[in-house]
Each structure stands twice: as C-alpha cells, then as structure tokens.
C-alpha cells in the first residue's frame, strides 16, 4: 500500500507538468460541476418554496352552513392534498378588503359581496395532479369555484425541468471529461513504463501488483482535482458572501451552500479517478 502510494507520487512527480495540468483541469471540471449542482439544489429549494406559498382558493356558496364548512374542511384534511388549510370567513375577507379598498366604496354596495373561502396549500408531491384536484373539488355541493395560479406554477415547473435537464447534461459531459483526463494521463504514464511493466510480468507480478500504483495514481489525480475544486469554492464563497457583494446583489443571501459538498466531492474524485485508471489499464496480458 505505502509502496504503491510512494510509487504513484514518484510517477506523478516525474511527469509533474502533465500531472499538474491534468489535476488543474480535473479541479476546474469539479468546480463547474459543484457550481451547477449547487445551482440545481437552490433551484429546487426555490421552486418548492414558491409552490408552497401559492395557495388554491376555494370559494364557497353563500348558503353553506358552518356545520357543512367544518365537515368540508375535515374532508379536505383527510385527503392528504394540502400541507395547510385556512378558512377565511366572508367577514374576515371584507375586513381585509377594507384595508385595500376605499371603505366608502364598499359601503356604497350596501352588502358584503365576498364569499366564505378556504385557502389550501398544496403538497409538493400533489402539484402534478392539480387539474384533477380542482375538478374533484368543484364537484362538492358547497363549492362555488376553485382558483389557482396554475399558469405561473406550470411555467415555473417546466422552466425547472428544462434547467435540470440542461444541468444534468452538462454534469454528465464534465464527468466524462474528468474520466478522459485521468484515462489519458494514466495511459500515458503506463506507456512510458511499458518496458518496466514487461519486466514485472516476466518476474511473476500479478495483474493487481502491476495495476495498484496506476490505480493509486488515478485516485490521487481525482482526489487532488476535487481538493482543488473545494479550494476554488471556498475562495468563491468568501467573495460571494462578503458585505460588498450583498450590497450589489442582495439575492446572494438566499443561496444555500450545502456543506455536504465538502466531504462528498473528494469521494467522487477518488471514485472517478480509480474507475478511469482501471479502464485505462485494461486487461493485463501475459501471452
């Protein structure tokens, strides 16, 4: 184990410039991957929060008795559609309206034109069944109408899906790039040592004995690259979360940097490095 690590470090040191360039390229790829991942994560949180804030409004018929209203609310609670249900009586609604509209105008009407309403905050997992839910609610005898800002939510959802798909595509391409960089570097080092490896084979070295230093090399490249990416992210977060940036772009405050990135990234780097080094070596043949 120690021998393989020292052998791999020696090999990287002998080819220090190509190894450094490979590690930097991997670092940049990982940096972009992390930024995109953080972006997608934040987009997810944002759209979730937004849809939670958008309520479905059920206006009730004028003659609905308080008993029917409580029964209806009880039914809605049982349905596991809403995360939160709020009843707004016509009196409360009028009171709220008076805060928004000139009271004299309301007095001119002479009666309370507003219906009793129920605000239901739809659970995220039920958002795709919005139309069915609306239809079902409209069938209740006490329901006058159902309103929902569906166009905005649908637009947001499709935007989210598009960004996610693009993000995943870029992430895949960058991951493949990392695989290629490690593959090319390890393969190149393997070719440089072809004579040495031939001697090892003649002396009875097993495939794992031959592979081990190269797999370690791949692991070091992947790990080193991911470590560089973490340093870039820390540096970037210092700039982004500074007071000066908040003054210019206040929205930065809302960006969440998941801490998991810092311990997940080195593992991903290690895995990709070892995997592509393994592919680069192929089958060790003796005949």
């Amino acid at each position: 184990m120690n021998k393989a690590i020292s052998y791999a470090i020696k090999s990287l040191w002998v080819n220090k410039w190509s190894s450094l360039i490979a590690m930097l390229s991997i670092g940049v790829c990982f940096f972009i991957i992390t930024i995109i991942s953080i972006g997608l994560y934040n987009l997810n949180v944002f759209t979730k929060n937004l849809s939670n804030k958008a309520a479905l409004v059920i206006s009730l018929k004028n003659n609905t008795s308080p008993r029917d209203i409580s029964q209806f609310i009880e039914d809605l609670n049982k349905k596991d559609i809403f995360s939160k249900i709020k009843f707004i009586s016509k009196e409360e609604a009028l009171k709220e309206m008076k805060d928004l509209v000139e009271p004299s105008l309301i007095e001119l009407i002479g009666f309370n034109p507003l219906p009793d309403t129920i605000e239901g905050f739809i659970k995220d997992k039920k958002l795709n069944k919005l139309e069915e839910i609306t239809k079902e609610l409209k069938n209740y005898p006490y329901v006058e109408d159902v309103y929902y800002p569906s166009k905005i939510i649908y637009a947001l959802k499709s935007l989210k899906i598009t960004i996610w798909n693009l993000g995943i595509l870029v992430l895949s391409l960058l991951s493949i790039s990392i695989l290629f960089i490690v593959y090319a570097t390890v393969k190149n080092h393997y070719w440089q040592k072809e004579e040495e490896i031939e001697i090892l084979k003649l002396l009875g070295a097993t495939p794992s004995y031959i592979r081990y230093p190269f797999l370690t090399e791949g692991a070091l490249l992947g790990f080193g690259g991911s470590f560089l990416a973490i340093l870039f992210i820390i540096f970037l977060s210092f700039i982004l979360y500074s007071k000066e940036t908040f003054n210019y772009i206040p929205a930065i405050k809302n960006i969440i940097l998941p801490f998991e990135v810092f311990y997940l990234l080195p593992f991903v780097g290690l895995f990709l490095g070892v995997f592509s080094a393994f592919i680069a070596l192929g089958k060790i043949k003796y005949q």
Partner: protein, 216 residues
C-alpha cells in the same frame, strides 16, 4: 517435471515446432541446441507461458500450459524463471533493486529480502557491486545479475536463452559454472544455445532441434 506431448506451434501457418514430445526430469540440466530459427527459443517461451501451443499438451509441474489461465501465469513464473540473452534488467536501478524485485513481487518483507539479496549476490560473486547502477556494469556482470535475480526465489526450473551469447569465452565459462552450481542444488536448468563449445564433453543431456523437430 516438464512434459511435452505432440506439441505443434505455428507462426503464420509456418510450423515452428512439429510433434514435439519430450520429458525433462526434476533436477536435470538440459541443453537445447540447433541452428537459428530451429525453435529453441519457442520451446523456452512455451515452458515459460509466453506462448500457447497450437496443438498438443505441455505440463510443467502441476501447470497444464495448453489450458493455463492468464491469472495463473504469474504463479508459473515464480515456479519457472528465465535468464534472457538481453538480460531484461532495469538499467536505471541498482544491482540490489534488480535482484530484490522478484522477492518484492512475491510480497516478502524488506528485512528478509536484504539478507537474501546479499547471500545470492555472494553466490554470483557480485556482493561488492550491490549498490552499482546496472547500466554501469559489464555484459558478464549484468548476466550474473540476471542469474542472481532468476535464482533468488529458489525456482524449480530455470530457463536460459543464449546466456553466453554476448560474453567472452572466460566470462561464458563463469556463467556456465553458475548454472551448474544452481543445478547441483536440485534446480532443473534448461539452456538454449547454438554454441556447441558450451556443451562439448559435458555429461548433461543435449536435445537437437532442426526444422521444428527434435532429435535426442
């Protein structure tokens, strides 16, 4: 120890070995001779697992080489070692590092390796050159390093392909004596050579190869 039964080997439909059947017993020293292209090296390569026979069967100890899996070849090469005409040494490493290599490969501990390397180098009269870089040594010395590397793991069989090919007569004689000493310790030694001076007046068995056929 080594058994060939009806072995054929072709290169591009040209038969290099034809219906070779032979037996080499444990502890024997055997010379394989014949003109260039007769198939001497091919026989050694077959025993070493570098080639597979196209027809027939080869047994080396418990290894059946006609059916051997790639994963078993490293273990065959700890049982059978090879001394090459061009030595196949790591020119950039010291004598010590080269001779220690087979022990490192077989996973022996550093402290055991050191003693074994010194003892083996003493046997081939190279103890004083232990820290020399191999490329600074003469051809005869490099050949002795190659022999030391081949014998350090106490193999059952040693193969040597033209081991004296690049050496002057005195050095060649020294090298041959080394092989005889190794054989005296019970190791089977097979030497391929086209130089009749090496096996003239020796008590050892000589196999003649001509046009891919063997004459004993």
């Amino acid at each position: 120890m080594i058994e060939f039964s009806g072995v054929y080997k072709y290169y591009d439909s040209l038969a290099v070995l034809q219906n070779i059947s032979l037996k080499i017993e444990k502890g024997e020293l055997v010379f394989i001779t014949g003109p260039s292209g007769a198939g001497k090296t091919t026989i050694l390569r077959l025993i070493f697992g570098s080639e597979k026979p196209d027809e027939g069967e080869i047994k080396v100890g418990d290894f059946v080489l006609s059916k051997i899996k790639q994963s078993k070849i490293p273990y065959l090469r700890r049982f059978v070692t090879f001394v090459f005409q061009d030595f196949k040494l790591r020119q950039d490493l010291t004598v010590y590092d080269n001779v220690a290599l087979p022990l490192l490969i077989s996973g022996q501990k550093e402290r055991d390796i050191k003693q074994k390397v010194y003892d083996t180098l003493k046997n081939v009269n190279l103890r004083h050159k232990v820290d020399y870089i191999v490329r600074t040594l003469s051809g005869g010395e490099q050949q002795r390093v190659a022999i030391a590397r081949a014998i350090i793991t106490n193999p059952r069989v040693i193969l040597a392909d033209e081991p004296t090919g690049n050496l002057d007569p005195d050095t060649a004689n020294d090298v041959m004596n080394l092989f005889k000493n190794v054989n005296a310790l019970g190791c089977t030694v097979i030497i391929a050579t086209h130089n009749p001076e090496i096996f003239r007046n020796t008590p050892y068995r000589v196999l003649y190869l001509k046009e891919g056929k063997i004459y004993q």
